[in-house]
């Protein structure tokens, strides 16, 4: 593979940094790839705009940040407004339906998925919202295998939260598949 770049954005506490770490760890420890993860955040512990960058590559990674990501994830409107312009032309922008309306034109495929609503409905809690998002990213990009992510989750998550997170991962993968099927059937909702 060559190099794949991701930027995960949202609000502090939503877990965008953890999401990047989980994918990075899956790539670095379980797939023999190089991965570098960095972040930019405000002084607040909760709230505030948070951004986490991830580069996955079979080559050594020098500059550790992402300037124009191939994959951009936006989990709040503020993050979307601020970061949508940086997505690489021809790239992929994934946003959450509960928090983001895609008002901008972007030279990228914009996909809006009800990740938050699905996690809330199926799991009763929204804590694993970020891992559902990881599932979507996985399904759309194939960046690492699901097995590798499961290994990374198992090593990182407290045992009490593991099951919920594994379910959230599956929910994300399913959401992406359903979206793909509905697009194939000609009734998918693709914002432009």
């Amino acid at each position: 593979m060559s190099t794949k770049s991701f930027v995960f954005t949202g609000s502090g506490g939503q877990g965008v940094i953890t999401a990047a770490i989980v994918i990075g760890e899956a790539a670095a420890l379980h797939e023999g790839l190089n991965a570098v993860q960095t972040q930019v955040y405000g002084p607040e512990a909760r709230g505030g705009a948070t951004r986490s960058d991830l580069i996955v590559s079979s080559d050594p990674i020098r500059y550790p940040k992402v300037i124009n990501p191939q994959v951009l994830v936006c989990l709040t409107q503020e993050a979307y407004n601020k970061f949508a312009p940086i997505v690489r032309p021809g790239g992929l922008l994934i946003a959450d339906a509960s928090f983001v309306s895609t008002v901008r034109k972007a030279d990228a495929r914009q996909i809006v998925l009800p990740m938050f609503e699905t996690v809330k409905k199926e799991l009763g809690k929204t804590m694993a919202f970020n891992i559902c998002m990881v599932g979507c990213v996985l399904a759309f990009t194939g960046i690492v295998s699901k097995d590798s992510v499961v290994k990374a989750l198992t090593s990182r998550m407290p045992p009490a939260h593991l099951e919920m997170n594994l379910k959230a991962l599956d929910l994300g993968i399913e959401l992406a598949k359903d979206y793909g099927n509905s697009v194939a059937a000609g009734c998918g909702k693709t914002a432009s």
Binding site: L29, A35, V36, R62, Y63, P64
Partner: protein, 380 residues
């Protein structure tokens, strides 16, 4: 190298390096962007039989590691700019009393509380001259996490070998960045603490160096008397106003480090053999510089990088040699020219240019390329 492959932060690599080197006592006060070091050691050090104390501030943190070092422990504290300012007086005390200790400064934007979560490399001169009076200091840095692990061990080794505070000068990007690190099971060289024990009835000279130049530590609490002071002192450790004693002590404190700068110099050269243009950089900035080297080489520009891991004592000779064949030198750093001035002193050419950022934004290869274009007569 047999070991454990990990995907961790720079701050965690410091913790791994410190534990590998035999850290026995840590005192600290958490501050962004170094907090994870304190947080992780609070959990891990006691499990290893070491001692962790969260102190009321950075002054107390620095003082308590000096005390613990005197009792025979390998010691460390970690902080960022505002805390590093508070530590300066006690760092001078450790220089004067020759107490081995490691001080990690994960730099953030300043002055004062600055931009707490944003990167900078503005404490280079503070590491050198933050404490008052003529003295020498060792400061090390790294741009990737395998090196952070290794240089942390080296920081402990140098602190023990030269009986001095060693500053591990990292920055927010290196501290918070995650990448692969192999934590070896064995194989890294670790200098052990040298301790003298003197039988009762024998005179003890705590500041009398051995023939190999190393000054053993006292078995503090043993049978002999040992005075520790920040005042100018004789070989017994007691204060003196004698000009000869003062001369010899200051000469010793400076020479033991400055005259060994060739032993202390750690650096890496990337493609400098045939370079027309040399970049000098260090810490996280060196990653962007290396990115630029590879990009430049792809488009036929003969450009090389000298990455400094030892900042102080400044490796003038290493820089001079690396720049010998080049007309143009760029210094890439995230401050207003702190290492740039040292590079100017080291090299013959006048064509030394500073590529920098000090706005809290991480410097990129694009920033370097713009200056490179100007220098090469291509415009911005």
């Amino acid at each position: 190298m047999s070991g454990t492959l990990r995907f961790i932060q720079g701050n965690e690599a410091v913790v791994e390096g410190a534990l590998y080197a035999g850290l026995g006592f840590y005192a600290g006060y958490p501050i962004t962007p170094s907090t994870e070091i304190t947080e992780l050691l609070a959990e891990r050090l006691p499990k290893r039989g070491g001692t962790f104390i969260q102190m009321e501030d950075e002054i107390a943190s620095m003082c308590s590691i000096i005390g613990a070092s005197l009792t025979g422990k390998k010691v460390m504290t970690a902080t960022s700019g505002p805390g590093f300012s508070l530590m300066q007086e006690a760092i001078g005390y450790a220089v004067m009393a020759e107490v081995p200790c490691v001080v990690v400064n994960v730099q953030r934007s300043g002055p004062s509380t600055g931009l707490p979560t944003a990167v900078a490399q503005g404490d280079v001169m503070q590491a050198r001259w933050g404490t008052h009076g003529d003295h020498a200091i060792i400061a090390l840095t790294a741009s990737n996490l395998q090196d952070v692990f290794k240089l942390t061990i080296e920081a402990f080794n140098m602190a023990e070998t030269y009986r001095t505070p060693v500053i591990l000068l990292l920055d927010e990007v290196v501290g918070h960045m995650r990448e692969k690190v192999i934590i070896p099971n064995e194989g890294e060289f670790v200098v052990q603490r040298l301790i003298t024990s003197v039988p009762e009835g024998t005179d003890y000279h705590p500041y009398l160096a051995r023939e190999d130049g190393r000054l053993p530590m006292s078995d503090f609490g043993g049978v002999h008397r040992y005075n520790v002071t920040g005042l100018v002192h004789d070989m017994w450790g007691f204060p003196s106003n004698d000009p000869t004693v003062a001369y010899n002590l200051l000469r010793h404190l400076v020479d033991k480090i400055e005259k060994r700068s060739h032993e202390i110099a750690r650096y890496q050269e990337h493609r400098i053999e045939d370079a027309d243009i040399l970049i000098v950089s260090y810490g996280s900035s060196a990653r962007s510089a290396l990115h630029m080297i590879e990009k430049g080489r792809d488009s036929g520009i003969r450009i090389g990088l000298l990455e400094l891991n030892t900042i102080w004592p400044f490796p003038y000779e290493v820089v001079r040699r690396a720049a010998e064949r080049t007309e143009i030198v760029l210094v890439v750093e995230m401050n207003m020219g702190q290492v740039y001035q040292e590079v100017r002193r080291a090299v013959k050419t006048d064509r030394v240019y500073l590529v920098n950022r000090f706005d809290g934004v991480f410097i990129s290869h694009n920033d370097i390329e713009k200056t490179l274009n100007v220098v090469m007569g291509r415009g911005v």
